[in-house]
């Protein structure tokens, strides 16, 4: 029993099955705590009044949109380098959730921008690079869907993911490199130190909740992919016999 054991789809299928309830319940619990902090503990902002409360989903969603992409790029690189089947499956399992978080980041940004900037959308460097990220996710998913040969699709998708990874530092540093309407990373947290702490804690709790949610849904998705790809093997036949 070593780390490589978990790289085998059959072991991972069962491990994932055991982990899913834990991540699901942790995500639910943290979301409840996070929402409570966001709406009932965090005080009114002296500049933005209650509109700032969008931050508790906007920032975690934006972090997730970038982080999931990096994890996908990591699995893609591992898959290309070592030809490990499970790595490509993990990348495929993460992409839809990454796309959803990117959409949420853009959507909540628009609904925050409208009352604060007076515009739903501006072609600002931060916003534009995040929109490109959404197109990358959609493009990668479409590429996988378009290539019938699973191995070729896996490799093409991984390659596109790695090329697109250049966009992640662009998003992250866009507020420094260009003069953007989007605020810098630290401004919202240093306005008033006394309230910054609870805002930060609320945001972090929501971010961890988003992480656990992502892990839970990605594990459910990867289990489906494993069954699909290993359908000729005896263990899948046994599982289908038992579960359906």
């Amino acid at each position: 029993m070593n780390l490589y054991t978990f790289a085998s789809p059959v072991t991972f299928y069962h491990l994932a099955g055991k982990l899913i309830p834990w991540f699901t319940w942790s995500a639910i619990l943290l979301t409840v705590v996070g929402l409570y902090l966001s709406f009932f503990v965090a005080p009114t902002d002296f500049q933005q009044s209650e509109a700032y409360r969008i931050i508790f989903i906007h920032v975690p969603a934006a972090w997730m949109s970038m982080f999931i992409y990096l994890v996908m790029a990591f699995w893609g690189a591992i898959g290309l380098a070592f030809n490990t089947r499970l790595s490509f499956m993990m990348a495929r399992a993460l992409a839809p959730t990454g796309a959803i978080f990117t959409f949420i980041a853009l959507w909540t940004g628009a609904w925050w921008g409208k009352p604060m900037w007076g515009a739903w959308w501006v072609w600002d460097a931060r916003l534009t690079s995040e929109l490109i990220l959404l197109f990358l996710y959609v493009g990668i998913i479409a590429l996988w869907a378009a290539i019938d040969d699973i191995k070729r699709g896996d490799r093409a998708g991984a390659l596109l993911t790695l090329i697109g990874a250049i966009n992640i530092p662009i998003i992250y540093f866009s507020v420094k490199w260009w003069n953007t309407l989007h605020q810098g990373a630290s401004i919202s947290l240093t306005k008033a130190p006394s309230m910054a702490k609870i805002m930060l804690i609320g945001m972090l709790v929501m971010a961890i909740a988003a992480w656990f949610y992502t892990i839970a849904v990605a594990l459910v998705r990867v289990r489906g992919i494993i069954l699909e790809r290993e359908r000729q093997s005896e263990w899948v036949k046994e599982i289908l016999e038992r579960e359906t």
Binding site: S49, E50, R53, I57, W107, W111, V220, L227
Partner: protein, 57 residues
Amino acid sequence: MEWASWSDFWSMGGYGLYVWGSYGVTALCILIEILLLRRSAGDTRRRLKRMQQWEEQ
């Protein structure tokens, strides 16, 4: 606690539309993802099961 009443809570200092527009759509996205995932998980298993029975005949 910042809220004097429930209507005070829902109005979000006049920004209710924007705050609830953000949280509502986020909740909807997550709900849709979970529902689609549950459905496709069941579909995959049923389809593979059918293929398997077909091969056995």
